[in-house]
Symmetry: C2
DNA sequence: GTGAACATGTAACGGGTTACATGATTGC
DNA sequence: GCAATCATGTAACCCGTTACATGTTCAC
Protein backbone atom coordinates (compact mmCIF):
# COMPACT_ATOMS: atom_id res chain seq x y z
CA UNK A 1 0.00 0.00 0.00
CA UNK A 2 1.41 3.32 -1.01
CA UNK A 3 0.58 6.94 -0.36
CA UNK A 4 -1.71 6.99 -3.40
CA UNK A 5 -3.99 4.41 -1.82
CA UNK A 6 -3.85 6.25 1.48
CA UNK A 7 -4.94 9.48 -0.23
CA UNK A 8 -7.83 7.68 -1.91
CA UNK A 9 -8.85 6.26 1.46
CA UNK A 10 -8.78 9.64 3.18
CA UNK A 11 -10.65 11.25 0.31
CA UNK A 12 -13.29 8.53 0.51
CA UNK A 13 -14.26 10.13 3.83
CA UNK A 14 -14.71 13.57 2.25
CA UNK A 15 -13.08 16.26 0.13
CA UNK A 16 -9.72 17.58 1.25
CA UNK A 17 -6.68 19.49 0.07
CA UNK A 18 -3.21 17.95 0.13
CA UNK A 19 -2.43 19.97 3.21
CA UNK A 20 -5.57 18.73 4.94
CA UNK A 21 -4.85 15.13 3.98
CA UNK A 22 -1.56 15.40 5.82
CA UNK A 23 -3.39 16.77 8.86
CA UNK A 24 -5.85 13.88 8.79
CA UNK A 25 -3.04 11.34 8.49
CA UNK A 26 -1.22 12.91 11.42
CA UNK A 27 -4.31 12.91 13.59
CA UNK A 28 -5.76 9.53 12.72
CA UNK A 29 -2.94 7.37 11.39
CA UNK A 30 0.08 8.59 13.31
CA UNK A 31 0.54 5.32 15.20
CA UNK A 32 0.83 3.28 12.03
CA UNK A 33 1.35 5.43 8.97
CA UNK A 34 2.98 8.66 7.96
CA UNK A 35 3.20 10.66 4.76
CA UNK A 36 5.03 13.86 3.93
CA UNK A 37 4.09 16.56 1.43
CA UNK A 38 6.77 15.20 -0.84
CA UNK A 39 4.76 12.04 -1.34
CA UNK A 40 1.21 13.39 -0.94
CA UNK A 41 1.28 16.12 -3.59
CA UNK A 42 2.81 13.92 -6.31
CA UNK A 43 0.34 11.15 -5.41
CA UNK A 44 -2.57 13.54 -5.78
CA UNK A 45 -1.27 14.83 -9.12
CA UNK A 46 -0.94 11.30 -10.43
CA UNK A 47 -4.37 10.28 -9.18
CA UNK A 48 -5.90 13.30 -10.89
CA UNK A 49 -4.12 12.53 -14.15
CA UNK A 50 -5.62 9.05 -13.99
CA UNK A 51 -9.10 10.41 -13.20
CA UNK A 52 -9.36 8.84 -9.74
CA UNK A 53 -9.70 12.19 -7.99
CA UNK A 54 -10.85 15.60 -9.17
CA UNK A 55 -9.41 18.82 -7.81
CA UNK A 56 -10.87 22.29 -7.76
CA UNK A 57 -9.60 25.62 -6.53
CA UNK A 58 -11.32 26.97 -3.43
CA UNK A 59 -10.85 30.56 -2.32
CA UNK A 60 -10.80 31.18 1.43
CA UNK A 61 -11.05 34.34 3.44
CA UNK A 62 -8.24 34.99 5.84
CA UNK A 63 -6.21 32.18 4.31
CA UNK A 64 -4.49 31.32 1.04
CA UNK A 65 -6.60 29.54 -1.56
CA UNK A 66 -6.46 25.78 -1.55
CA UNK A 67 -7.03 23.01 -4.04
CA UNK A 68 -9.47 20.42 -2.70
CA UNK A 69 -9.77 16.97 -4.18
CA UNK A 70 -12.78 14.69 -4.31
CA UNK A 71 -12.69 10.99 -5.08
CA UNK A 72 -14.39 9.91 -8.33
CA UNK A 73 -16.34 6.73 -9.05
CA UNK A 74 -13.31 5.09 -10.65
CA UNK A 75 -11.24 6.21 -7.67
CA UNK A 76 -13.64 4.55 -5.26
CA UNK A 77 -13.51 1.44 -7.38
CA UNK A 78 -9.73 1.42 -7.43
CA UNK A 79 -9.61 1.94 -3.67
CA UNK A 80 -11.91 -1.02 -3.06
CA UNK A 81 -9.93 -3.28 -5.36
CA UNK A 82 -6.60 -2.20 -3.91
CA UNK A 83 -7.69 -2.75 -0.31
CA UNK A 84 -9.09 -6.19 -1.11
CA UNK A 85 -6.16 -7.21 -3.30
CA UNK A 86 -3.24 -6.47 -1.05
CA UNK A 87 -1.92 -8.78 1.62
CA UNK A 88 -1.62 -6.72 4.78
CA UNK A 89 1.91 -5.73 5.72
CA UNK A 90 2.86 -4.65 9.20
CA UNK A 91 6.41 -3.46 9.67
CA UNK A 92 8.11 -1.95 12.67
CA UNK A 93 11.49 -0.35 12.14
CA UNK A 94 12.90 0.90 15.39
CA UNK A 95 16.40 2.26 15.55
CA UNK A 96 15.53 3.06 19.14
CA UNK A 97 15.26 -0.62 20.02
CA UNK A 98 18.43 -1.48 18.13
CA UNK A 99 20.06 1.21 20.23
CA UNK A 100 18.70 -0.40 23.40
CA UNK A 101 19.92 -3.79 22.21
CA UNK A 102 23.40 -2.28 22.10
CA UNK A 103 22.90 -0.27 25.30
CA UNK A 104 26.26 -1.48 26.64
CA UNK A 105 27.97 0.50 23.87
CA UNK A 106 26.40 3.77 25.03
CA UNK A 107 27.48 6.18 27.76
CA UNK A 108 24.99 6.04 30.66
CA UNK A 109 23.84 9.65 30.25
CA UNK A 110 23.15 9.13 26.59
CA UNK A 111 21.19 5.95 27.36
CA UNK A 112 19.08 7.78 29.93
CA UNK A 113 18.48 10.66 27.53
CA UNK A 114 17.33 8.31 24.77
CA UNK A 115 14.96 6.51 27.12
CA UNK A 116 13.52 9.76 28.39
CA UNK A 117 13.05 11.07 24.87
CA UNK A 118 11.09 7.99 23.88
CA UNK A 119 9.03 8.01 27.06
CA UNK A 120 8.11 11.65 26.47
CA UNK A 121 7.29 10.96 22.84
CA UNK A 122 4.99 8.06 23.68
CA UNK A 123 3.40 10.00 26.50
CA UNK A 124 2.65 13.00 24.28
CA UNK A 125 1.43 10.80 21.44
CA UNK A 126 -0.90 8.95 23.75
CA UNK A 127 -2.30 12.17 25.23
CA UNK A 128 -2.96 13.64 21.78
CA UNK A 129 -4.54 10.35 20.84
CA UNK A 130 -6.85 10.21 23.82
CA UNK A 131 -7.85 13.81 23.17
CA UNK A 132 -8.57 13.17 19.50
CA UNK A 133 -10.49 10.02 20.36
CA UNK A 134 -12.60 11.79 22.98
CA UNK A 135 -13.57 14.43 20.44
CA UNK A 136 -14.45 12.04 17.62
CA UNK A 137 -15.34 8.61 19.01
CA UNK A 138 -19.09 9.02 18.57
CA UNK A 139 -18.76 9.58 14.83
CA UNK A 140 -16.27 6.82 14.06
CA UNK A 141 -16.93 3.61 12.17
CA UNK A 142 -16.23 0.28 13.86
CA UNK A 143 -13.06 -0.09 11.80
CA UNK A 144 -11.81 3.32 12.80
CA UNK A 145 -12.43 2.63 16.48
CA UNK A 146 -10.65 -0.70 16.08
CA UNK A 147 -7.57 0.74 14.39
CA UNK A 148 -7.36 3.70 16.75
CA UNK A 149 -7.90 1.42 19.74
CA UNK A 150 -5.10 -0.84 18.56
CA UNK A 151 -2.73 2.09 18.37
CA UNK A 152 -3.69 3.35 21.81
CA UNK A 153 -3.43 -0.08 23.41
CA UNK A 154 -0.06 -0.89 21.93
CA UNK A 155 1.48 2.50 22.66
CA UNK A 156 0.15 2.35 26.21
CA UNK A 157 1.76 -1.07 26.66
CA UNK A 158 5.03 0.21 25.22
CA UNK A 159 5.00 3.27 27.45
CA UNK A 160 4.25 1.17 30.48
CA UNK A 161 7.13 -1.16 29.63
CA UNK A 162 9.57 1.72 29.18
CA UNK A 163 8.55 3.35 32.45
CA UNK A 164 8.77 0.11 34.38
CA UNK A 165 12.15 -1.01 33.01
CA UNK A 166 13.98 2.29 32.61
CA UNK A 167 15.59 2.18 36.06
CA UNK A 168 16.51 -1.48 35.85
CA UNK A 169 18.22 -1.08 32.50
CA UNK A 170 20.10 2.00 33.64
CA UNK A 171 21.24 0.24 36.82
CA UNK A 172 22.32 -2.97 35.12
CA UNK A 173 24.21 -1.20 32.36
CA UNK A 174 25.97 1.09 34.83
CA UNK A 175 27.02 -1.88 36.96
CA UNK A 176 28.48 -3.78 34.01
CA UNK A 177 30.20 -0.58 32.83
CA UNK A 178 31.91 -0.27 36.20
CA UNK A 179 32.92 -3.94 36.21
CA UNK A 180 36.16 -3.31 34.34
CA UNK A 181 35.32 -4.58 30.88
CA UNK A 182 36.34 -1.89 28.40
CA UNK A 183 33.31 -0.56 26.49
CA UNK A 184 33.01 1.59 23.39
CA UNK A 185 30.89 3.89 25.51
CA UNK A 186 33.68 4.24 28.04
CA UNK A 187 36.17 5.19 25.36
CA UNK A 188 33.80 7.77 23.99
CA UNK A 189 32.92 9.16 27.37
CA UNK A 190 36.62 9.47 28.16
CA UNK A 191 37.30 11.13 24.80
CA UNK A 192 34.46 13.55 25.48
CA UNK A 193 35.86 14.64 28.85
CA UNK B 1 20.47 3.87 11.12
CA UNK B 2 21.03 1.72 8.10
CA UNK B 3 21.88 -1.91 7.47
CA UNK B 4 25.58 -1.09 7.58
CA UNK B 5 25.32 0.00 11.20
CA UNK B 6 23.22 -3.04 11.98
CA UNK B 7 25.88 -5.32 10.50
CA UNK B 8 28.57 -3.62 12.56
CA UNK B 9 26.43 -4.09 15.66
CA UNK B 10 25.87 -7.77 15.02
CA UNK B 11 29.54 -8.31 14.21
CA UNK B 12 30.50 -6.57 17.47
CA UNK B 13 29.02 -9.65 19.18
CA UNK B 14 31.23 -12.01 17.21
CA UNK B 15 32.34 -13.06 13.74
CA UNK B 16 29.68 -14.03 11.26
CA UNK B 17 29.01 -14.54 7.56
CA UNK B 18 26.39 -12.52 5.71
CA UNK B 19 24.08 -15.49 5.82
CA UNK B 20 24.54 -15.82 9.57
CA UNK B 21 23.98 -12.10 10.11
CA UNK B 22 20.59 -12.47 8.49
CA UNK B 23 19.82 -15.39 10.80
CA UNK B 24 20.79 -13.34 13.85
CA UNK B 25 18.66 -10.42 12.73
CA UNK B 26 15.68 -12.70 12.18
CA UNK B 27 16.05 -14.32 15.57
CA UNK B 28 16.87 -11.30 17.69
CA UNK B 29 15.58 -8.22 15.87
CA UNK B 30 12.51 -9.50 14.08
CA UNK B 31 10.10 -7.40 16.14
CA UNK B 32 11.79 -4.15 15.21
CA UNK B 33 14.19 -4.56 12.31
CA UNK B 34 14.61 -6.59 9.18
CA UNK B 35 17.26 -6.87 6.52
CA UNK B 36 17.43 -8.94 3.34
CA UNK B 37 20.47 -10.37 1.58
CA UNK B 38 20.11 -7.63 -0.99
CA UNK B 39 21.07 -5.08 1.63
CA UNK B 40 23.33 -7.15 3.89
CA UNK B 41 25.85 -8.35 1.28
CA UNK B 42 26.39 -4.91 -0.29
CA UNK B 43 26.69 -3.40 3.20
CA UNK B 44 29.37 -5.92 4.13
CA UNK B 45 31.25 -5.28 0.90
CA UNK B 46 31.22 -1.55 1.52
CA UNK B 47 32.27 -1.93 5.14
CA UNK B 48 35.17 -4.11 4.06
CA UNK B 49 36.26 -1.62 1.39
CA UNK B 50 36.34 1.02 4.14
CA UNK B 51 38.28 -1.25 6.49
CA UNK B 52 35.57 -1.46 9.16
CA UNK B 53 35.25 -5.22 8.85
CA UNK B 54 37.61 -7.91 7.61
CA UNK B 55 36.40 -11.02 5.83
CA UNK B 56 38.05 -14.37 5.42
CA UNK B 57 37.08 -17.58 3.66
CA UNK B 58 36.20 -20.46 5.96
CA UNK B 59 35.87 -24.01 4.65
CA UNK B 60 33.23 -26.19 6.29
CA UNK B 61 32.58 -29.89 6.16
CA UNK B 62 29.16 -30.94 5.09
CA UNK B 63 28.39 -27.40 3.96
CA UNK B 64 29.49 -24.89 1.33
CA UNK B 65 32.37 -22.61 2.31
CA UNK B 66 31.44 -19.29 3.85
CA UNK B 67 33.03 -15.87 4.17
CA UNK B 68 33.02 -14.71 7.79
CA UNK B 69 33.57 -11.10 8.77
CA UNK B 70 35.09 -9.68 11.92
CA UNK B 71 34.76 -6.09 13.08
CA UNK B 72 37.98 -4.06 13.14
CA UNK B 73 39.08 -1.37 15.61
CA UNK B 74 37.94 1.39 13.27
CA UNK B 75 34.67 -0.48 12.77
CA UNK B 76 34.08 -0.60 16.51
CA UNK B 77 34.86 3.08 16.69
CA UNK B 78 32.47 3.91 13.88
CA UNK B 79 29.74 1.80 15.50
CA UNK B 80 30.11 3.61 18.81
CA UNK B 81 30.03 7.03 17.18
CA UNK B 82 27.08 6.14 14.98
CA UNK B 83 25.02 4.78 17.87
CA UNK B 84 25.74 7.83 20.00
CA UNK B 85 25.25 10.31 17.19
CA UNK B 86 21.87 9.32 15.86
CA UNK B 87 18.56 10.41 17.27
CA UNK B 88 16.51 7.27 17.75
CA UNK B 89 13.77 6.74 15.19
CA UNK B 90 10.84 4.44 15.79
CA UNK B 91 8.50 3.97 12.88
CA UNK B 92 5.52 1.69 12.47
CA UNK B 93 4.10 1.26 9.00
CA UNK B 94 1.08 -0.95 9.07
CA UNK B 95 -1.00 -1.43 5.97
CA UNK B 96 -2.91 -3.91 8.08
CA UNK B 97 -4.18 -1.16 10.38
CA UNK B 98 -4.98 1.12 7.46
CA UNK B 99 -7.01 -1.78 6.12
CA UNK B 100 -8.81 -2.08 9.47
CA UNK B 101 -9.44 1.67 9.47
CA UNK B 102 -11.28 1.17 6.18
CA UNK B 103 -12.88 -2.11 7.29
CA UNK B 104 -16.28 -0.92 6.06
CA UNK B 105 -14.92 -1.03 2.49
CA UNK B 106 -14.07 -4.73 2.78
CA UNK B 107 -16.25 -7.81 2.32
CA UNK B 108 -16.83 -9.51 5.68
CA UNK B 109 -15.01 -12.72 4.71
CA UNK B 110 -11.97 -10.80 3.59
CA UNK B 111 -11.98 -8.82 6.83
CA UNK B 112 -12.13 -12.01 8.88
CA UNK B 113 -9.36 -13.58 6.81
CA UNK B 114 -7.09 -10.56 7.31
CA UNK B 115 -7.68 -10.55 11.06
CA UNK B 116 -7.00 -14.28 11.31
CA UNK B 117 -3.82 -13.94 9.28
CA UNK B 118 -2.50 -11.25 11.59
CA UNK B 119 -3.51 -13.13 14.73
CA UNK B 120 -1.71 -16.23 13.49
CA UNK B 121 1.36 -14.20 12.54
CA UNK B 122 1.58 -12.56 15.94
CA UNK B 123 0.93 -15.85 17.71
CA UNK B 124 3.71 -17.62 15.79
CA UNK B 125 6.10 -14.71 16.22
CA UNK B 126 5.48 -14.65 19.93
CA UNK B 127 5.99 -18.40 20.29
CA UNK B 128 9.27 -18.28 18.38
CA UNK B 129 10.27 -15.35 20.52
CA UNK B 130 9.53 -17.05 23.81
CA UNK B 131 11.42 -20.10 22.63
CA UNK B 132 14.45 -18.07 21.58
CA UNK B 133 14.36 -16.12 24.82
CA UNK B 134 14.16 -19.28 26.93
CA UNK B 135 17.24 -20.65 25.18
CA UNK B 136 19.36 -17.51 25.46
CA UNK B 137 18.15 -15.33 28.35
CA UNK B 138 20.97 -16.32 30.71
CA UNK B 139 23.64 -15.08 28.32
CA UNK B 140 22.02 -11.79 27.30
CA UNK B 141 23.14 -8.30 28.24
CA UNK B 142 20.73 -6.00 30.05
CA UNK B 143 20.14 -4.07 26.83
CA UNK B 144 19.35 -7.22 24.91
CA UNK B 145 16.88 -8.39 27.55
CA UNK B 146 15.31 -4.93 27.52
CA UNK B 147 14.90 -4.78 23.73
CA UNK B 148 13.66 -8.36 23.48
CA UNK B 149 11.31 -7.81 26.41
CA UNK B 150 9.90 -4.73 24.75
CA UNK B 151 9.16 -6.69 21.60
CA UNK B 152 7.52 -9.51 23.50
CA UNK B 153 5.43 -7.18 25.64
CA UNK B 154 4.16 -5.09 22.76
CA UNK B 155 3.38 -8.02 20.49
CA UNK B 156 1.59 -9.77 23.35
CA UNK B 157 -0.51 -6.64 23.92
CA UNK B 158 -1.26 -6.40 20.20
CA UNK B 159 -2.23 -10.06 19.99
CA UNK B 160 -4.45 -9.75 23.03
CA UNK B 161 -6.16 -6.72 21.50
CA UNK B 162 -6.78 -8.49 18.21
CA UNK B 163 -8.17 -11.58 19.89
CA UNK B 164 -10.44 -9.57 22.16
CA UNK B 165 -11.83 -7.26 19.47
CA UNK B 166 -12.01 -9.53 16.46
CA UNK B 167 -15.59 -10.62 17.06
CA UNK B 168 -16.82 -7.14 17.92
CA UNK B 169 -15.36 -5.64 14.77
CA UNK B 170 -16.76 -8.41 12.60
CA UNK B 171 -20.21 -8.03 14.17
CA UNK B 172 -20.33 -4.27 13.94
CA UNK B 173 -19.15 -4.16 10.35
CA UNK B 174 -21.60 -6.85 9.30
CA UNK B 175 -24.46 -5.00 10.97
CA UNK B 176 -23.67 -1.73 9.24
CA UNK B 177 -23.24 -3.59 5.94
CA UNK B 178 -26.74 -4.99 6.29
CA UNK B 179 -28.22 -1.62 7.25
CA UNK B 180 -28.80 -0.59 3.65
CA UNK B 181 -25.97 1.87 3.11
CA UNK B 182 -24.21 0.89 -0.11
CA UNK B 183 -20.59 -0.05 0.51
CA UNK B 184 -17.67 -0.65 -1.84
CA UNK B 185 -17.37 -4.04 -0.19
CA UNK B 186 -20.94 -4.87 -1.13
CA UNK B 187 -20.36 -4.00 -4.74
CA UNK B 188 -17.25 -6.12 -4.84
CA UNK B 189 -18.86 -9.02 -3.03
CA UNK B 190 -21.77 -8.86 -5.47
CA UNK B 191 -19.42 -8.71 -8.44
CA UNK B 192 -17.60 -11.73 -7.10
CA UNK B 193 -20.75 -13.84 -6.89
C1' DG C 1 17.12 -36.79 -8.57
C1' DT C 2 14.79 -33.49 -6.10
C1' DG C 3 13.74 -30.36 -2.58
C1' DA C 4 15.50 -27.93 1.36
C1' DA C 5 18.92 -25.52 3.65
C1' DC C 6 23.32 -23.37 3.13
C1' DA C 7 25.77 -19.67 0.83
C1' DT C 8 26.90 -15.31 -2.02
C1' DG C 9 26.22 -12.06 -4.87
C1' DT C 10 24.27 -8.28 -8.71
C1' DA C 11 21.16 -5.00 -10.94
C1' DA C 12 17.07 -2.68 -11.76
C1' DC C 13 13.42 -0.58 -9.82
C1' DG C 14 10.49 1.94 -6.83
C1' DG C 15 9.10 4.92 -3.52
C1' DG C 16 9.70 7.85 0.24
C1' DT C 17 12.61 11.44 2.45
C1' DT C 18 14.90 15.67 2.33
C1' DA C 19 15.94 19.86 0.78
C1' DC C 20 14.77 23.44 -1.93
C1' DA C 21 11.63 27.05 -3.65
C1' DT C 22 7.72 30.11 -3.22
C1' DG C 23 3.94 32.67 -1.64
C1' DA C 24 -0.44 34.31 1.22
C1' DT C 25 -2.21 35.83 5.54
C1' DT C 26 -2.52 36.72 10.46
C1' DG C 27 -1.10 38.27 14.81
C1' DC C 28 2.34 40.15 17.65
C1' DG D 1 8.91 43.73 10.24
C1' DC D 2 8.86 38.86 11.72
C1' DA D 3 7.39 34.46 13.16
C1' DA D 4 3.86 31.13 12.63
C1' DT D 5 0.49 28.82 10.08
C1' DC D 6 -1.56 27.83 5.83
C1' DA D 7 -0.64 26.17 1.25
C1' DT D 8 1.63 23.84 -2.98
C1' DG D 9 4.86 22.07 -5.39
C1' DT D 10 9.71 20.00 -7.58
C1' DA D 11 14.02 17.43 -7.88
C1' DA D 12 17.75 14.92 -6.25
C1' DC D 13 19.02 11.43 -3.55
C1' DC D 14 19.13 7.35 -0.77
C1' DC D 15 18.44 2.97 0.31
C1' DG D 16 15.89 -1.05 0.65
C1' DT D 17 13.15 -4.49 -2.00
C1' DT D 18 12.71 -7.69 -5.60
C1' DA D 19 14.13 -10.49 -9.00
C1' DC D 20 17.67 -12.71 -11.05
C1' DA D 21 21.73 -15.74 -11.15
C1' DT D 22 24.59 -19.48 -9.36
C1' DG D 23 26.54 -23.12 -6.83
C1' DT D 24 27.17 -26.79 -2.72
C1' DT D 25 25.74 -30.37 0.29
C1' DC D 26 22.49 -33.34 2.56
C1' DA D 27 18.58 -36.19 3.27
C1' DC D 28 14.84 -38.57 1.40
Amino acid sequence: MDVKTLCLGVLSMGERSGYEIKKTVEESFHHFFRAGYGSIYPALAELERAGHVAGREVAQEGRPAKRVYGITATGRDLLGRTLVGEEPRHVVRSEFLVLMYFAHLLPAERLAAVLDTMIARFRDGLAADLDHYARTHDQLTAGQRFALGYGRTVVAAALDYLERHRETLLDEVTVSDASGRPQAGDALAAAGD
